[in-house]
Symmetry: C2
Subunit: 342 residues, 2 copies
Amino acid sequence: MTTIANNKTLKDLGEVGIIRLIQGKVSQKLPSYVKKGIGDDCAVVETSGERVLLVTTDTLIEGIHFTARTLSPEALGWKALAVNISDIAAMGGTPRTAFLSIGVKPDTEISFIESFMAGFKALADKTGIILAGGDTVESPSSAVITVTLLGDCLPEHVVYRSGARVGDDVWVTGPLGNAAAGLFLLQTKEFAAPSGYEPLVRAHQRPMPPLDVGKALAESGLAHAMIDISDGIAKDLGHICEQSVVGAVLWAASLPMSSPLLGLAAEAEKEALQWALHGGEDYELLFTASPADKEKVQSLTAKHSGRPAVKVGAIVREDGILLAKQGTEVPLESGGYLHFCK
Amino acid sequence: MTTIANNKTLKDLGEVGIIRLIQGKVSQKLPSYVKKGIGDDCAVVETSGERVLLVTTDTLIEGIHFTARTLSPEALGWKALAVNISDIAAMGGTPRTAFLSIGVKPDTEISFIESFMAGFKALADKTGIILAGGDTVESPSSAVITVTLLGDCLPEHVVYRSGARVGDDVWVTGPLGNAAAGLFLLQTKEFAAPSGYEPLVRAHQRPMPPLDVGKALAESGLAHAMIDISDGIAKDLGHICEQSVVGAVLWAASLPMSSPLLGLAAEAEKEALQWALHGGEDYELLFTASPADKEKVQSLTAKHSGRPAVKVGAIVREDGILLAKQGTEVPLESGGYLHFCK
């Protein structure tokens, strides 16, 4: 066991460091029924049946992940489930049962829970998810929401982060940066009453992970590696590269950006590309596939989501991620949202 | 949908009211693969295999469930897992994989995580549980821990809260009130350096749910209904009665109380019986069985835990719980720890 000097804090370690510390502390030989533990979008656990279990859990804390200004109670209920659905989608699975832990202050209005549950149920109904349990506790200050979502998949269809191959194309299922631009709108007073920017706000508040596309990509065998874009494509492509022991080139000019995003960037004098690369919370899927399957990928994704996936780069042998932009290639810093680092 | 006046708060509703509100908002016909949703110690979900999945989740929040004074980081790690193991034990299952969500302040010392994980791992190793995933996030103030635990069981062995039959004996697997007395010691300055009271403090900080006993009772078919004692026997027996549509009589003189508990009650001028009835957090099992199986229950529990279960009451037809004490029977208020009600 590594022991680190006692006076250091989690700020010194960062989120990745903390996860590594936890992994180190429990490092153990996984039993054969745990096909994947820490380190992918979901854990993959064998049951005695033919399908493997997919398990993911995500926590949203008031003041960190949301405020009353950025998410209404109803949007919070929707989003708390959506971020977990996105992880199941990224493995190619089907979500089944959700477990909801809510911690709130005793002086919270009852209507908060009513609205929260309305948002949660709207998305659960849309995706066939059953709320099967949870915990309801008092919190002294911030509202705290943890959703654990269980799904399943045939083991031969599960798509891991680790399957990218040198020469693969890199694809995304939809526009990037909208959610980050939506958050900017919600947090910035002068843009508080946006017009024409509703899709950006909606992307932040009501993401709809492309569950059907994820499942179709997995069942077709077209996706070699897949992840959901929760921290920004730069950071999430980094996860694929790390787990697959490859590198990647991203083509700046190919990244799909919406008209409202470009419009807002111009109006607010922001760089749209930064939102697209590092904004996070897009909950689109990022995957790699063989160049030979380009047309199959386009038609399959178009069929299941109404819009074809967009090719944004390639997997290469050399470590790291390069951003190709205006004829030059520069190393891309991961730079997505980092917990514990201000 | 019922809608409740907007200006009311969760304090007006109480924990049970909030859970009913949530249930009402998602009320839906459960698909056949969800054998039990909200309302027992675990959800019971069919997989395509021969064993059903048991799922439970519990959240511990600083300032509500613990403080730095009552639980060291190491004890917190142990207890966050133990309270979930207790729920699996109460269904008669075997715990398998745990998912840990930690929210802590960025200025938390790294040693907090190291110690927390040491406690978590000590109990995980003892019980064969694998940490298979989780989430690590920043919290603006209180530390927040959610553990979701998955286990399994043959469907014919699962013991629900709803199986108690009129005439059944009511049993507990171990002493009651120790954890509550331990908490009292930890919170009360004049008893801060207890001598001879270590078992009480240990019961609060390092509960060890009787997992083997729960499994043996389930496999033998002896237990008709079972629950873990987390809120106090009065409240938890109430859950069995409500779900089984029966009542119960508890015999005050039969409730197992330890010598340290009786000693502390005398010294601190407290009523030991109140701790035993309402203290909560004992994480022993409460179950009902046929009177004809009395000796089998005693020998089976003795074999698996070193001490026989103790018969503390009987299931009766009439609603409610009566406390039989010194020749009289009085209605027992549930009165365990109630979230949201100060």
